[in-house]
Amino acid sequence: MSWRHPVFVLSLLAQSLVSAAGEEAGVSVRNAWIRESPPGNSMMAAYMELRNNTSRPRVLVAASSSGFQRVMIHRTVLKDGMAGMAHLSQIELAPNASLIFAPGGYHLMLMNPKRTLRAGDPVVINLEFRGGLVLPVAFEVRK
């Protein structure tokens, strides 16, 4: 990809958006990725490391993306050897603490992608926090 490539430029723009908005909000995101999924599959999951750099709690209340019909905050819950999903209406980020979204735990469930996503594709997901702050985060599709 080069400077002339629209996806590349878009992804750079998204990344600069992310860092600018994140610093302002006191929330930073690292290692944001989406697991590439089989073609035609309607459910995907996004993972990340969220960090609250402020001395006050931050509450993630929703997420959305133009690339998907719907994004939900979920947690895989293991009980008696069985896995189930719990839908969370919000997640509180403790002051100066990190919260990891990883396979088998917290994740953003991405429903009905509007196009097939392949490893390397950038996807922006907006994280909405209580108080009206919206943080656009660039996620990378990984195999």
Partner: protein
């Protein structure tokens, strides 16, 4: 003198008896530990000392071929129960199993005696073609099988695999709760071992190689 030697005699006898008993006890403990060194359910695998033969069941794979007891014979089968609308647990497990397959295939020329089977517990949404597209993404050799609820329940029940379809207001958008273990069936179609999550390809591959070696030793 006599009394002394008797005393010594008794002491020697006691010590000897004690040593024999201690030796026997140690041998017993050792034997038990030795056996358990093999059978010890560690964090990754629980290996059954007495594999349980499965009884008849009938499912169909992504090409609508029958998948039954005969399909298990002559191969080690890794089974995972899930559903294709599963965003987190299933793709994570299948991606690891694809790595297990690669690892075993690399170290064992041929490796034709292993198969990986994704059992969909959601036949309502997982058609044969949908299953085919799904498993093929992880590895071309993976099988995706399903059937009616009674037949899925039959196989799941024999392995102690549980699942439950959640009832939600949205008929096309529901979740399924399911066992996350990977079941290992041996070439005699017996339930041989189970891998407990979180699944790690390197750990599973290493243990499988030991299990296969042990089973080959038992057979000869």
């Amino acid at each position: 003198m006599y009394r002394t030697s008797l005393k010594y005699g008794a002491m020697i006898a006691t010590v000897t008896l004690g040593a024999v008993l201690a030796g026997a006890w140690l041998a017993e403990v050792y034997r038990e530990h030795d056996a358990r060194a093999v059978l010890l359910p560690d964090q990754v695998i629980t290996l059954f000392p007495d594999p349980k033969p499965l009884t008849a069941f009938a499912l169909a794979d992504q090409a609508n071929r029958v998948f039954d007891l005969a399909s298990l014979k002559g191969k080690w089968s890794f089974l995972f129960f899930g559903f294709t609308h599963c965003p987190d647990v299933c793709p994570t497990a299948l991606a690891e199993l694809a790595r297990v397959r690669d690892s075993i295939a690399r170290s064992t020329p041929g490796a034709e005696d292993i198969q990986f089977v994704f059992v969909s517990v959601d036949p309502n949404r997982d058609s044969a073609s949908k299953l085919g597209q799904y498993v093929d993404y992880f590895a071309a050799s993976f099988l995706g099988v399903t059937g009616d609820n009674a037949q899925i329940g039959n196989l799941a029940g024999q392995l102690g695999a549980a699942y439950q379809v959640a009832i939600t207001p949205e008929p096309e958008n529901y979740s399924v709760v399911h066992t996350t273990a990977v079941f290992l069936l041996d070439p005699l179609a017996r339930y041989h071992a189970v891998f407990t999550p979180p699944h790690d390809a390197a750990a599973i591959s290493r243990r499988f190689k030991v299990v296969r070696k042990l089973a080959a030793g038992n057979a000869t």
